[in-house]
Amino acid sequence: MSSETRNSESYVEKPKTLAELREGIASGALKAADLAASYYERIEKVNPRLNVYLSLTKERALEQAAHVDEAAAKGNPLGPLAGIPVGIKDVLVVKGAPATAGSRILEGYHPPYDATSVTKLEAAGAVLLGKINCDEFAMGSSNENSAYGPVRNPVDTERVPGGSSGGSAAAVAANMAVATLGTDTGGSIRQPASFCGVVGVLPTYGRVSRYGLIAFASSLDRVGPFAANVRDAATLLGVIAGHDPKDATSSLAPVPDYALESGRPVEGLRIGVPAEYFGEGLEPEVRVAIEKGIEDLKAAGCTVKPISLPHTRYAIPTYYLVATAEASANLARFDGVRYGYRSKDSATLADMYRHSRDEGFGAEVKRRILLGTYALSAGYYDAYYLKAQQVRRLLAEEFLRAFAEVDAIVTPTAPTTAFKLGEKTGDPLSMYLADIYTVTASLAGICGVTVPCGTTKVGLPVGMQVLAAHLNESTAFRVARAVEAAQK
């Protein structure tokens, strides 16, 4: 079993809260430039072991910090993230900084533009520290699929941080950033947040612009924040959410003050607990921790209601057909022509495409491209892709019915705590099952927050997933804050 022992080597360090840091910066007691420098020192010290950052954007960070300090000195109004050091998952583009998506195929690529979420963070005063390691093209649940080596879990360096946004979770857990951005297609924010003991947010599909996100599965991909506490995660989401004309699927709905909303009492909220998320495969210690969290919600005045989501067991097969089909189309663009890696000395164009892709992509990416191409190919399209899309509707409608009766649904975020490096790399299917509780919300487009909810006996973090209906992030944050408050 993976949770029996824990390596004593720990890099866990909690960042200060946004409120504390901002107050210091606004009053002049803390200089944004000094804060950024202290984060670079911390990164220099622990990055060789944890492998979180792939590249640093020091020049841009220090320039932004100087702007913030100047504004603070003049008494000018400061943005909600003024001077706050943040890290960006390396599937989001930052102008001029290498963008790898954890892949060799993008070697040498320096995107000429910023992702909208990055633009918004910077406009709010955030200081971008650098680009953060992840599974190749965000495909993976352990960060072991990165072409640049795995990230280690700061809680226990012999364990994975989860994936695909493993680096973004580890960065917050080890105080290598106050907050980070990640992306979630099937659980890639929530599962690593759970494994590293931090807060991770899956915004409603369309809530945050995907412009500048290197696409994996466009109908599922979301950009969302990681932070050390729920309120700060809510603040981050408030900054990056909103309509963007550059993303045709981005929602026009107004953005609430999530941080404020997150503090509203939970008394009277109806919480659904779906039996299907507590069955076979759930590690006993995870179950105990989540059940304790549910008791805490009852004590806080919530009404807990058992519910049933019978299509849950079909979510993984549905997800892996939909996601790989979309990936096979999205990743067709990497062909060695316009950017990134090109194989040398190919005689013909067709050879150049094949060699570049063969040498540039890792095994998991090839596996998913093949599966997706197969599911979309003539003769199989109806049986696989169309079938999966039909089941996707059943799954989504099941959630909509559930949310007519409850305000939020709570589940374990993952069936296990962080597993050991190398434990699942030989068996792709067992790795896919790490996402068994997260892919459902991905397919349905609903939102969720994962919040630390106790630890196992040896101290490995457990995360509770709080799901809410489309565009109802405020409720998910409220419930998550109640769980968080009960931890202390």
């Binding site: 320096h110 995107p111 000429p112 533009y113 409603t204 599909y205 369309g206 109908s219 004309p245 045709a248 699927t249 929602s251 026009l252 299509h311 079909y314 097969p317 892996y320 096979s328 067709a332 062909d335 022509v337 950017y339 990134g340 890696y341 090109r342 190919s346 005689a347 013909t348 164009l349 150049m352 495409y353 094949r354 060699h355 892709r357 063969d358 090839k366 596996r367 491209i369 093949l370 599966l371 191409t373 197969y374 049986a383 696989y384 079938k387 999966a388 899309q389 039909q390 089941v391 509707r393 059943l394 989504a396 409608e397 909509l400 792709p428 896919y432 487009g445 209906a469 489309h470 565009l471």
Partner: protein, 103 residues
């Protein structure tokens, strides 16, 4: 669904996807694909006759999705020189690639 994939299938799909696999890679992928396809075959348990496929959650009622497209307007695009600087080989105006047709 659940038809066994053969090495020939893997090679055909690899060709469609412009991937070149070594024989060892093909063998490994064959095993993985069969295991995954066996697993996804459980979707056959569900009767989905008459269920409308869901490609985008914005199609769902109450999901907050966008139903109207923005007006088609001209906007500035990236500077050609900046874009070309990222390419493996160009003549400044065009991307250069190996020959497409023999002779």
């Amino acid at each position: 669904m659940s038809a066994k994939v053969t090495v020939k299938d893997v090679e055909r799909v690899a060709e469609l996807a412009n991937l070149e696999l070594t024989p060892a890679e093909s063998e490994g992928m064959l095993q993985d694909l069969n295991a995954i396809l066996d697993y996804v075959a459980q979707l056959n348990e569900l009767d989905t006759q008459g269920v409308e496929p869901l490609a985008q959650v914005s199609e769902l009622k109450g999901a907050g999705g966008v139903s109207e497209l923005r007006p088609d307007e001209r906007n500035p695009s990236l500077d050609r020189a900046v874009v070309m600087a990222e390419a493996p080989e160009t003549d400044q105006a065009f991307f250069k690639v190996p020959k497409v047709i023999e002779r």
